[in-house]
Each structure stands twice: as C-alpha cells, then as structure tokens.
C-alpha cells in the first residue's frame, strides 16, 4: 500500500529545532535541520541517530531541504553534513544559501567565544557544508533524481524563505517552513498555487492568535524610541545579523526621514554593508514596493543609519544602536548593555524571543540585579519586548490551507494546546484530516497514487464508435486488458492482448440451476420460459433456438427433466462475465417461478 510517512525529530508540538523526516514514494527527505538555541550540549541538535538505525545517512536520505536561514531551521546543518557525515544534496533558495553561512558563522563565533566550546563546527565546515548546497529559484521544478522533484514557493517571513513542494509521481507533500501571509515593509506575502498536495505540513506558531495590526506595533515601537531619544536617552536594539533587523531599520529610517530627526542611529558589526549587498542582490525576493522604488532609491541604502564603532557607546547624548547578538548573550550588544543599563533614561528593546540563560531572558522576566563579570549590575534602563516575528496567524494559516487545497494537513512548529485548537478548526472548515505528531511520532498516511496508462488507438477508436461524442470533462469507463511490461502500463483490447502475448482465449461462464415445479415436457417448459422472458425483458434480445434452448444476450437457458422428480424441471442457466448483472437478474427472476399458463 503506497503511503506517506512523516516523523518530526524536531518541531513536533514544539517551537524548537525544526527537523522533519518525510518518506514519499520510497524517497526519504529531511525538511530543515535546525538547532535549539536554549541548549548548550548535544541536545541543541536533533537526534539524528533515529533517522536510520542501520546504514549510512547518505544512502538513506535522498535530500535535505532548508526552508530559510533562521538557525532553528538550518543551525544543525554543518553538524549534520560535516560531523555526522551526511554527504548528499542540500536544497535551499539562493538568498538562503548566501545568508545561511553568515548566521552560522555568527553563532559559531559566539559558541566558541563565549562558551569556549571546542567541539563545535568550524568555519571550514560551514563552507564545506555550503558547497553541498544546490540553490533553487522560485517556481523552478528541480529534479533531485529520476523520480523525486521539488519546487519552491514564496513564503515571506525572511529574505529567501520558501515553501517547498516535494513530489514523487503523482504523490506530493508541501512543507511551508515559516511563512507570513501578510506583506511587511520589505517582504511580500506567502503564496502557493492550488497544487492539491496529498499532505500540507504547515507551521503553527500562531495557531490560536489573530495578530493585532502590525501598524500598531510599529507605531508603539517608534513612539518608544522617539520618546527615549527626545529625553536624551540611548536606545539599544539587540538583533540577529539579518532578518527582522532590516525591517526595523527601514522602519526607523523612514520615521527619521519623515520627522527630520538628527539623533544618530548605528548598526554594529558592519552588517549594514552586508545586508545592503544581499538585499540588492536578491531584490526580486523583496516586496513590490521595494522593487518598484529600487530604480531610483534603494531602500537598504540607509541615510540615517551608520556603522557603529565601539567608542561611540561612550558618546554623550541620545542615540539608537542595533547590535548583535539578539539575545544579549555575548559580544557587542552585551557590552553596550553593560554600559547603558545603569541609566534610567536609556531603553533596551528586545524585538524577539530570548532563551533561558541569556541576559535578554533575564531582563525580560523582570530581573533587575544581574551578576556580570563578577560584579553586580543594576538595570535601571527601561526594558521593552516587542515581537516582530513574521509568522502567519491563525487566519493566515487557514488562508494558506484554502489556497493549496491539500487532502490532509499536518501541524508542526507550534505548541500542542494551540495546535489542538487549530486542528479542530481545519477539520471542521475544510473537511480534511489534520495531524499533529509529537517529536519521534510517525504519522502514516495511505495514498492512492494515479498510475499513468497508455491506451491503444484501436481500443479508443472502438470506444469512440460506441459513443460518438463523449463529454470531454466527464470521466468515462473504459474496458480493456491491462498489460504491464518493463515498467509500462498499456490498456488494449482483449483481442490485441491475446495476440501480443500469444495466449489462447478461454471463455468463462457462470452457471446456475433453477428448479421449477412443472409437469409439462421439457420443450414446453422452455417455451413458457421464452414467453415469460420475452414479456418481461422487452429491451433485450430473447430468442428461442431450434434445439429448444432460450437465449437472452449471452445467457443460455436449457430445460431438463429432474432425475428423481418427474414433476420438477431443472433450468440450466449459464452466462458470461460480461452479462453478470443480467445473469443474476434472470436467475432471480426464474427462481420466482413462471406465471400460470392461460387455461
């Protein structure tokens, strides 16, 4: 029985490290290879030992697909390919291929720098891993091998994020990765065609949420930043290198321009140049507005945002600084935080999630006395959290399901309780089954793949002759003989099949005996049967043959005397399989007996 099997190793009822195994049409695909930033040990990576208990990974997996560059979707990739030993192809979009190594490198440097981890992937490993990547374009059908093909669709979320359709023969799965159904300042909304996959695997981060207007959040953000700099304070915005940082930059840049503000905005670690480069390079991946204005003004060439130098942190007066990393767990953002934390005029805005163990997590949970570098640090600056993550909300998820029209839906990358709610909603609204496996649980879905069959011209002509004008869009039943040879399926007429295969024809007839109470002679009984059938079956050809037998189409009826009971006649009824229905009807009819002969 053909089936699709899905086993999440990560992102099954959690928002940790995405890693989902899919088996479809005998092909094994890994969707995303993410890392959990909340762990410092080997638990940060999915447990790849469960992929195959025996044999080499490269032999088992046909490919790995990465949906976008966030570390919870690609962070384990160098580990998987260079340390665990996967040597096969890795597919991702061009922007993801370009940006992925930057974030991996950033993370590696923090792990080695801050935590002093020696057993971690190296820069060379990241490069070697990226060399195994096959970059794909949007809507380009990529043939992984003779049977497996993949196709990327626009997902919004971050630059280069894609949903992937995985197809083997007529079976298909769509994996959304993270996506956003509403356009933001630099990216468009996710889109997919009505591809009717057997299964849609969708993220469900905001499974129960209808998000408030993004405009409100943006207004709030700008207001807070503005108020702080107006009163002479400094604003620190810890961000990850690329992603929502650019969204916030555009937001501030536009605001500064509109309000004609002169307070300096800085971006640390030379990422403005990098971001600029990549956003220029992949301008086709941004939204329509940015693409349109690009000719006369590149939105990523910021007028007000300048490169940050360490010495600037001590400058008097207000300023806004974007600094990495995003969770205040190392490097420049933490250093600036230490300098500014003591002043209540200052503010830190955390635009994203912080894992436990980071300073970001501590201050967001309200801790105001921190021990840092052996000293107590009192946090007097204002601390704000504003989520700018670009995920589809419940409405958006439903919208996507409606767009793709899948036969089933499977939820990942969300919390179990919220998934449960969305699952019911999907099942009610779309009348399709919805699944939400936990990590390590396998969902097996039987499929009914359509098998292409060639029909012989002779058979088609004969069919056409019978019904001259068939309706093009209506399914038609076609009888023929199926020949399976060398992996090909052909439907031909039975005569042609016999000829081709050199077989002799055998006729199969069904027979049945019907006992009738009739004292007359056999010939008379046969005549009575003929008369009865003639009157009942007006649309059929009923004949009384010279030898005394009666025929109705291919059905033959003969009357014989009962060996033991002379008052009973035995009707021998036989018919071919083509007249199975009529044969059964006739037998039933005869069993009811014949009408009384007119006296």
């Amino acid at each position: 029985m053909p089936e699709i099997r899905v086993t999440p190793l990560g992102a099954g009822q959690d928002v940790g490290r995405s890693c989902i195994l899919v088996s479809i049409g005998g092909k094994n695909v890994m969707l995303d290879c993410g890392m959990h930033m909340g762990f410092n040990d080997d638990r940060r990576f999915p447990d790849f030992s469960y992929i195959t208990q025996n044999g080499r990974l490269t032999d088992f997996l046909d490919c790995v697909i990465i949906s976008h560059f966030h570390l919870d979707h690609c962070g384990a990739l160098p580990y998987f390919s260079e340390m665990v030993g996967y040597d096969g192809p890795i597919y991702m979009t061009h922007p993801t291929q370009a940006i992925c190594p930057i974030l991996l490198e950033d993370y590696r440097k923090i792990a080695v720098d801050k935590k002093g981890e020696a057993n971690f992937f190296t820069s060379q490993m990241i490069k070697d891993c990226m060399k195994k990547v096959v970059a794909v374009h949007l809507h380009q059908t990529v043939q992984v091998d003779d049977e497996l093909e993949i196709k990327a669709y626009y997902a919004g979320h971050v630059l280069g994020a894609a949903m992937f359709q995985i197809k083997v023969g007529s079976e298909s799965v769509v994996y959304t990765g993270d996506y956003n159904m509403t356009p933001d300042r630099h990216l468009g909304a996710a889109w997919i065609d009505k591809c009717r996959p057997d299964l849609l695997i969708t993220e469900s981060t905001y499974a129960t949420t209808i998000r408030d207007s993004k405009r409100c959040r943006e207004r709030d953000f700008l207001k807070k930043v503005h108020e702080t700099v107006e009163r002479g304070g400094k604003v620190l915005i810890p961000v990850f290198a690329l992603g929502r940082a650019q969204e916030l930059c555009i937001l501030l840049e536009t605001f500064w321009e509109r309000m004609n503000l002169k307070v300096p905005i800085y971006f640390s670690t030379g990422l403005t140049e990098k971001a600029n480069h990549y956003y220029k390079l992949f301008i086709t991946w941004t939204n329509q507005k940015i693409r349109k204005t690009f000719v006369h003004r590149n939105m990523f060439e910021f007028k007000h945002i300048k490169a940050f130098d360490r010495a600037f942190a001590d400058n008097p007066g207000p300023m806004v600084v974007f600094a990495t990393p995003g969770m205040l767990h190392a490097g420049q953002s933490l250093q600036i935080f230490r300098k500014w934390a003591g002043n209540e005029k200052n503010m830190v805005i955390m635009p994203g999630y912080c894992v436990q163990g980071t300073v970001g997590h501590k201050i967001l949970s309200g801790q105001r006395k921190l021990e840092m570098e052996g000293r107590q640090l009192e946090v007097r600056m204002q601390v704000e959290y504003m989520s700018f993550s670009a995920h589809a909300d419940a409405k958006g998820i439903m919208q996507l399901v409606g767009q793709a029209e899948p036969r089933r839906v499977l939820l990942v990358h969300g919390e179990a309780k919220k998934m449960e709610f969305l699952k019911q909603k999907i099942e009610q609204e779309f009348r399709v089954s919805c699944y939400m496996p936990a990590n390590g649980e396998t969902v097996t879905l039987p499929t009914s793949p359509s098998i292409p069959v060639s029909v012989s011209l002779g058979l088609l002509k004969r069919e056409m002759a019978q019904v001259p004008l068939p309706e093009a869009k209506k399914p038609r039943l076609l009888h023929g003989t199926l020949i399976m040879k060398e992996g090909n399926f052909r439907l031909v007429s039975s005569e042609q099949a016999l000829k081709e295969l050199g077989l002799a024809e055998h006729q199969l007839r069904f027979t049945c005996r019907v006992h009738l109470h009739d004292t007359r002679k056999e010939q008379e009984t046969a005549l009575r049967v003929y008369s009865h059938l003639k009157s009942v079956l007006r649309d059929h050809c009923v004949q009384h043959l010279p030898d005394g037998s009666v025929t109705v189409e291919s059905i033959l009826i003969q009357a014989a005397a009962h060996s033991e009971d002379p008052g009973t006649k035995v009707l021998l009824v036989s018919w071919t399989y083509q007249d199975e229905e009529l044969g059964s009807y006739l037998t039933a009819l005869l069993k009811k007996g014949l009408p009384q002969a007119p006296s």
Partner: protein
C-alpha cells in the same frame, strides 16, 4: 509578584503531622510512619549502581550529557527551591522556557551524583511535596508530569532515596494508579518521562523488586510498540538494562533462563523476547532483536552465553522466513554476538549463523554484516572469504559487465558466481545506485584497516573504481548488453561518482602498477575536465587527485618529478586554470584550495615551479582576490599568499585596483582594511603572520612598519578572529624581537636568540614603535573572550621574558611614575579607545608588573556565561519568569 511558600498551601498536609513541619517523610501518606529501617544514614555512601552515567537522557546511548551544570546544591539554591517548587505546582504559572525543566533535571542529576539523595530530600522537603502534589493532581500538565516522573527516578536511583520515596509516591507515579491510567498517558512526553524515570530508578535490587511488584514490565513490553520512536527505543533500552541488572544480582551462572534459578524479572524479559521472536510482525521481531543486541553488546557475563544458547534457535528460525524479517537488526545482533568476548573463535554457533545469514540476505543487507565480520580479528578464515566475496560481488559484476574482453582480469575470478548482485544491480536505478554506493563506502572503510583481507585486490579494485567513473561520465563503451544497461543506469549519476572518487582516493594508500596509476590519472582528469561534473564531484575529484599525487620529495628539490607525474601535471594545470574561471563559486573555491595544497607539497620542486609559472594559474588566482564571493576571496588570499611566500607570485593584473600598485602586500592590506566579510580579512592576517614568520621579502623591507600597520588595522576589526590572529602576529614579532621565550632555559639549547640581554632596551623600543603593548592591552579588555585570553597570554609571556632578562635594570633604570600611572589609567579607560601613548621600556615593564595578569587569566579561563549557566541563575530565571505575562509564542 514572586511566588512564596503560601502558594503551596492548597496541598499542605494536615497540621500536626510531621510533614507539615517540614520534617522528613518516607511517603505521601500522612499516616504512614517512617520506619527506621527505611532511612539510610547520610554519608552511608551510595548503593551499588550498574551504570552511574546512564541515569537519564536516553537520547544518547553513552549516557553522557555534555555541558551539564556542575555546581552542587548550595545554600542560595536551597533557599530558592521552595519557591520554585511552588511555581511549578501552580497551574496558573507556565514554565518560562521549554528547556528549563530539562536543565533543572540536569542539575538534580549532578547533585545526586555527587551527594546523597536522601539528604537532599530531607533538607528540601519541598521536593517531595512537589512530587506528591503532581501525583495528587488529576489533570497535571503533561510537561510537569513528565518532569516529576524523571525527577522521582533521579532521586530513587540511590537506594536511600528510593526507600525514602517508596510507598505511595513511587507506586503512585509508576504503578497502575499513576499516569498510566490518566488521559495524560496519551502524551508521548509523559510516556517518555515514565520510561526515563524507571531507567534512572533501576539501579539497585530494591528497584527490581519494585518493578516486579508493580507489574511495570508489562507496560514496558507494550511501550516497545509505542508510536513514538523515542519511547519505543527507550523501552527496549530499559528492558536490556533491567535484564542486566537482575542478572548482575543473581548468584552464579545458571545454565538456562527457563530454569527457575534465573531471577523473575530476567525470566519474564527473556520470555517476552522469545515470544516476540516468534511473532510474525516485523516490528516486534525488531524490538526483540534490539533488546538482545543491547544486552549482548553491554553485558559479558557467562549468563549471556546461556541466554544466547536458548535464544539462538529462535533467531536461526528467522532465517528460514521469506523474506528474512528485521534484517538490519539481525545483522546488528550477530555482530554484537561475534564481538562479545564471551564467545571464542572455537564457538562455531555464532559463526555458522553469520555464514548462513550472509548467504540468505540480499547484498544490500549483507554488506554491513560482511564488513563487521571482516573487522573481527578472530573471525574464521572461511567466513572472512565469504564476507569479502559479498563485498566484492557488486564490483565484480560491474567489471564483468563492462569488460571489453571476456578474459579481462576481474574480481572474484573463479569464485562461484551468484546472480543475486546482478539482479539487484539491474532491478532499478535506485537499487543499483544504492548498492554500489554502499559497497564503495564499506570497502573504503575496510581498506585502511590492518585486518583487511590479504591479498588485497588493489589492481582490480582500482579498475572497478575507474570503470564506475567512466560509466557515470558516459565515457565507457561496454561490449555486453548488461554493460550497456549499467551504462544507461549510471550515466550522470552524481552519487556513484562521489562514492567512486572517495574510494579511489582511499586506494591511493596502496601501491598499483604504473598502468593502473595512469588509468587513475586519466579518469581523474576526465572528471575534472568534464563540463557535466557537478561542483561536489569536482571537489571530490580534486581531493582524490591530491591523494594520488606523490608527496613532497625528501629532501626537497633533490629529485625531479617522474615523467608520468610531470605529464599529468602538464595536463592538470590547464584544467585547474579552467576551473578557476568557473561561474560556480564552489568550483573556484575548491580549485583554489587544491592549488594551495598542491603548492604546499611541491613549491620547492623545480619542475612544478616551472610548469606553474608557465601557466596562467598564479595570475588567475590573484585575480580571484577580487571575487564577489567572500569564501573565494579568502581562499585566493591563502593561495596567493602561499605562492608568494614560495616566490611563485605573478605580477598584479589589475592596475585599477587600489592596492595593486603597491604589490601583493598592498593588495592584502587593502582587503584587510576594506573587505566587508570576515573570511578574507581572517585569511589575510593568517598569511601576513606566515610572511612575518618566514621573513617574506615584502615584510623584511621594513618589518616594524609592517607590524605597526597590521596591528593598527587589526585592532579596529569587528571580527574577533581577525583580532585574535593579530595577536598571533604580535606574538611572532615579539619572539623575533626578544627571542624565544624561555630561551635561557638549559633544556632549550639551540633555540634562536634574537637579541642578547644587553639589547633589551632596543628591543623594547621596537615593541613601543609598533605599539604592540598598546594593542595587547587594548585586546585584554576585548569584549570577546578568546581575544582577551590571547592578549593575556602574550603579556604574561612578555613579562616573564623581561623578568628573566633582568627586569627594570636591564630595561634602563627606574620608570617615570607619572608615565606609569598615566598609562595604567589610560588602560583602565581603554574601553573608551584611549591609546596609551609611547612608553619608555622601563615604564612598559612597570605597567606590566602593576597589572594582575594572573588574576585576569583566571577570570578569563571561566566561560563568560558561567553565571548565567549556574543553577542559581536557572532557578532565578524560572522564578522570575513565573511572575511575567507569557510573551507571545515567538521564535527567530
């Protein structure tokens, strides 16, 4: 608002009971008195344990948990614990982060590994209170329930802790009345917590009795078929563990499990395994085989021999089924048996079964068994021959199919033929590719092993690898129809190409006749030249080529390259040239990496130098310094820098480039100053350090100016690895200026001493001129720890060297106190980027002496997030998070 003890009141025990006053309790029940015999005195020492490291965390079979906090329970944590337990028990307070409970368990695991569980439970009654609260709550959240199960297991791992918790608590948690019967049991994390808790608990005989008394084994048996892979696997592991534990406690070595002498637990598990082995359901057979594999792999007592004697007939019966069920697990089991020291080579049973299995399984399934057997020293020779035959057969088929003449040398000539591999090869493209890739990988693994079969058919294997490359490249013209089909199947198959190139590279370790080597070179060139070769294939082809090229001549430049190698090289360089111009960055990068490694081996070889300089390769490599891809720029920097070091540098070809006018050094400094990516800048600092070390001509012209410039640029770099590499360059300069640190040591005779003690002031002046101390002191306050560490090491070695050479007196008398004070002040405010200014040598010494560099080094040695990773920080975070409105589910 932070939670307090009061929030616990809804499940307080009746007032007046010892429990309500916080005194130790043996169980949940308020009425059950604490029996003296149940209490193990603190300090009595931990009870016997089977596997102390394997308490929890079934994700890793070795039981290690890298990165677990190492701090034990301290008073601060003990103070925070009651509040935390209250928070955990409060359904209105969601746990801040899904990793917190995991980390909390890590910590408890560490605490109980280093101390007494009983003491911990007695000192912190809130822990038992929490467990009993969870037990008493009908609809406890799945996460909390799972946590409680695992926590109880950790505490119960020591017999004293077990006795303390025994009673309603443990039986409530793990028995029928517990989560087993609740709705939460449908949540995989609860089932997983249950198994993990038991796995931790099962460390002593009392735990075994507990398992037997509470019918736990039946549940574990059923969990082997759990829909969650994690739970099913953990259940099998638990059974193997319990079997080992129960047999460890059994006296003597009874002859067979069915005899009553085996402990009840063991008999039940063996009975279950027997039953499963007879099952027609493949998953059940797999689980049974897995339990056996774990047991026989881990336990080497005599009882395992009796166990195998009883179960091997059932295993043998699996081989009679068509198809053989759970083949992979069967292979694992047989290898586990074969590796077990309990069985000697004289025990023919396991070997006979392995031989039968080899012949019964298809080549794809038999391959790993064949390799496993060949790795065993004591494997009988006949079985080794059979196993090697299994590995060689697919390649023999390829060779035979593509042979031009029937008498051509092949693998397995004269061996009885088998149609199985041929059928497998031709059944479908994916089967063919899978079998060939696996075979090549297994042979690649076998090749370097000392126990590989001898004679090793090197020539035929080379032939097979080359043939496969030709089949994939479409360059083969097989005469037979079988060969034609193989040709069609493998044409353009990247997977087989990659596997064949890896294998070919490994075969370079063995010798081969010249004819074969020529064939190999031709096949490699074909791959490298082919326009159809994918970047990953080209990378592997470059790697294999490097392995086949002869190593550097010893001594260098004394002998010429062989005519064959020279000829190959002459053909290779134009290919390399072409690949350096590839539109794929991956290919350009691999070509540059190849060039770097090639020149590292042969740079001093005259023929190579001539051929390289006559080619366009050096010029093209230099052009790639301006490649749009940063990885390629970095590789170009390394390659060109190295070529230049060996005098193989071309003239710049891009006069419009700003640095080009000043030669390569100028160009590299330009990259260091302006490149927006870290990789090329890192490569530049590495190259410049090498140049300084090797006395490169461009550097030697004005070393001080060179060092000063580099340090100045590097100090402003945003990439800490560039700054760290800058410190390495500073260290090299220091050694060259002052001589090798510790050169005065009598054991260091022969090390170069650049300057005598009398030249010390001059040397210190030189350090001052390049602003080395400025750079190092600034780096000491770097926000990135490795930079600060390296700077600290540098300054410590400088100070030690100066002290060794006579210190202040040699440096030129007393320092100017004002200058020293100013410098120290400047350093302390160094974070603001203030330069120290040029210091007199004596002042420099005084500054170093005044600093607590050792203390600095000590602080830097600790990872900078040690505070955040401490258990106290974890508890504080969890408590703090409880008072905060849950942030919207968010991610990156």
């Amino acid at each position: 608002m932070k939670p307090t003890h009061n929030s616990f009141c809804h499940y307080k025990f009746p007032s007046g009971s010892p429990w309500s006053r916080g005194s130790p309790r043996p169980s949940v029940s308020a009425s059950s008195p604490l029996r003296a015999s149940q209490v193990v005195k603190p300090g009595a020492g931990p009870p016997e344990r089977v596997d102390p490291a394997a308490g929890r965390g079934f994700r890793r079979t070795d039981g290690t948990r890298a990165g677990a906090p190492s701090l034990a329970m301290d008073p601060e944590c003990a103070l925070l614990l009651p509040g935390l337990c209250a928070v955990l028990a409060d359904p209105g307070q969601p746990v801040a982060d899904d990793t917190c409970l995991e980390k909390l368990l890590d910590w408890f695991q560490t605490v109980t590994e280093t101390g007494s569980s009983l003491r911990l439970l007695q000192d912190n009654p809130c822990l038992v209170e929490l467990l009993s609260h969870v037990l008493g709550t009908q609809d406890a959240p799945a996460g909390l329930l799972s946590f409680a199960l695992r926590l109880a297991g950790i505490f119960g791992a020591q017999e004293s802790g077990f006795q303390y918790l025994q009673g309603e608590l443990l039986s409530g948690l793990f028995g029928d009345a517990g989560p087993l019967g609740q709705a939460a049991w449908t949540v995989p994390s609860v089932r997983s917590g249950w198994v993990q808790g038991l796995r931790s608990l099962a460390q002593h005989p009392s735990a075994l009795h507990f398992l037997a008394d509470h019918g736990v084994l039946d549940t574990v048996f059923s969990l082997q078929r759990d829909p969650s892979l994690f739970v099913a696997s953990a259940a099998s592991q638990l059974l193997a563990h319990v079997l080992a534990l129960s047999m460890q406690g059994a006296a003597g070595s009874p002859p067979a499990p069915q005899d009553g002498a085996w402990p009840t637990c063991a008999r039940r598990i063996v009975g279950h395994v027997e039953e499963s082995l007879c099952s027609t359901a493949a998953p059940q057979v797999t689980q049974a085989l897995n339990v056996l594999t774990s047991t026989l792999g881990r336990c080497h007592g005599h009882w395992t021999k009796a166990l195998w004697a009883q179960l091997s007939p059932l295993v043998a019966r699996l081989l009679e089924r068509e198809p053989v069920p759970a083949a992979h697990s069967l292979v694992d089991l047989l290898l586990s048996v074969a590796r077990s020291p309990v069985f000697s080579s004289a025990d023919s049973g396991p070997w006979d079964m392995a031989a039968r299995t080899l012949s019964r399984l298809g080549p794809l399934q038999a391959g790993p068994l064949a390799l496993g057997l060949l790795k065993l020293q004591h494997c009988p020779q006949t079985l080794r021959t059979q196993a090697f035959g299994v590995l060689l057969q697919p390649l023999a088929c390829v060779l035979k199919a593509s042979a031009q003449a029937p008498e051509a040398a092949g693998l397995l000539d004269g061996a009885p033929g088998s149609s199985v591999p041929v059928d497998s090869l031709l059944s479908s493209k994916s089967a063919c590719v899978g079998l060939l890739c696996q075979t090549l990988a297994l042979l690649e693994e076998l090749q370097p092993l000392p126990q590989r079969p001898s004679p090793w058919p090197q020539e035929a294997l080379l032939g097979a690898a080359v043939t496969m490359l030709r089949l994939c490249g479409g360059g083969a013209a097989p005469a037979s129809s079988l060969g034609g089909r193989l040709c069609r199947t493998l044409a353009g198959c990247v997977r087989v190409q990659r596997a064949a190139l890896d294998f070919l590279g490994t075969l370079s370790q063995g010798a081969g006749p010249q004819e074969s080597v020529t064939q190999v070179f031709a096949a490699l060139l074909e791959c490298l030249e082919s326009p159809d070769s994918s970047p990953t294939v080209l990378k592997k082809a470059f790697q294999a080529t490097l392995r086949w090229l002869p190593g550097p001549p010893q001594p260098p430049s004394c002998c010429a390259l062989s005519p064959h190698t020279l000829l190959f090289l002459q053909e290779l360089l134009p290919v390399l040239q072409k690949r350096l111009c590839s539109p794929c960055w991956e290919v350009r990068d691999s070509a540059l990496e190849f060039l770097t490694q090639l020149s590292r081996c042969w740079a001093e070889q005259a023929d190579f130098r001539r051929a390289l300089l006559a080619s366009e390769v050096p010029r093209l490599a230099r052009q790639l310094l301006q490649d749009p891809e940063s990885y390629v720029r970095a590789s170009a920097v390394t390659a060109v820098g190295q070529l230049s070091g060996w005098g193989l540098q071309p003239a710049s070809t891009s006069p419009q480039h700003p640095g080009a006018q000043q030669g390569l050094l100028g160009e590299l400094l330009h990259i260091l100053t302006t490149d927006s990516e870290g990789f090329p800048r890192r490569a530049v600092t590495q190259v410049l350090t090498e140049w300084l070390r090797a006395g490169h001509a461009d550097v030697a012209q004005d070393t001080e100016q060179f060092v000063a410039t580099v340090l100045q640029v590097v100090s402003r770099d945003l990439d800490w690895e560039v700054r760290a590499q800058g410190l390495e360059l500073a260290r090299v300069f220091l050694v060259q200026t002052l001589g090798q640190p510790g050169a005065g040591c009598p054991y260091a005779v022969g090390l170069p001493v650049a300057s005598s003690p009398s030249a010390l002031p001059a040397a210190l002046h030189a350090l001052g001129r390049v602003r080395l101390l400025d750079f190092a002191l600034c780096a000491l306050l770097d926000c990135d720890r490795p930079v600060a560490q390296k700077a600290c090491d540098l300054l410590l070695s400088l100070r030690a060297e100066l002290a060794r050479r006579g210190g202040l007196q040699e440096a030129g008398g007393s320092p100017d106190p004002a200058a020293v004070e100013a410098a120290l002040r400047g350093w302390r405010t160094g974070e603001q980027g203030q330069p120290l200014g040029e210091l007199a040598p004596a002042a420099m010494l005084a500054v170093l002496d005044a600093m607590d560099l050792e203390g600095f080094r000590g602080r830097l040695a600790e990872s900078s997030d040690r505070v955040e990773r401490s258990p106290q920080s974890l508890l504080q975070d969890m408590l703090a998070a409880a008072g905060v409105r849950e942030n919207q589910a968010d991610c990156y």
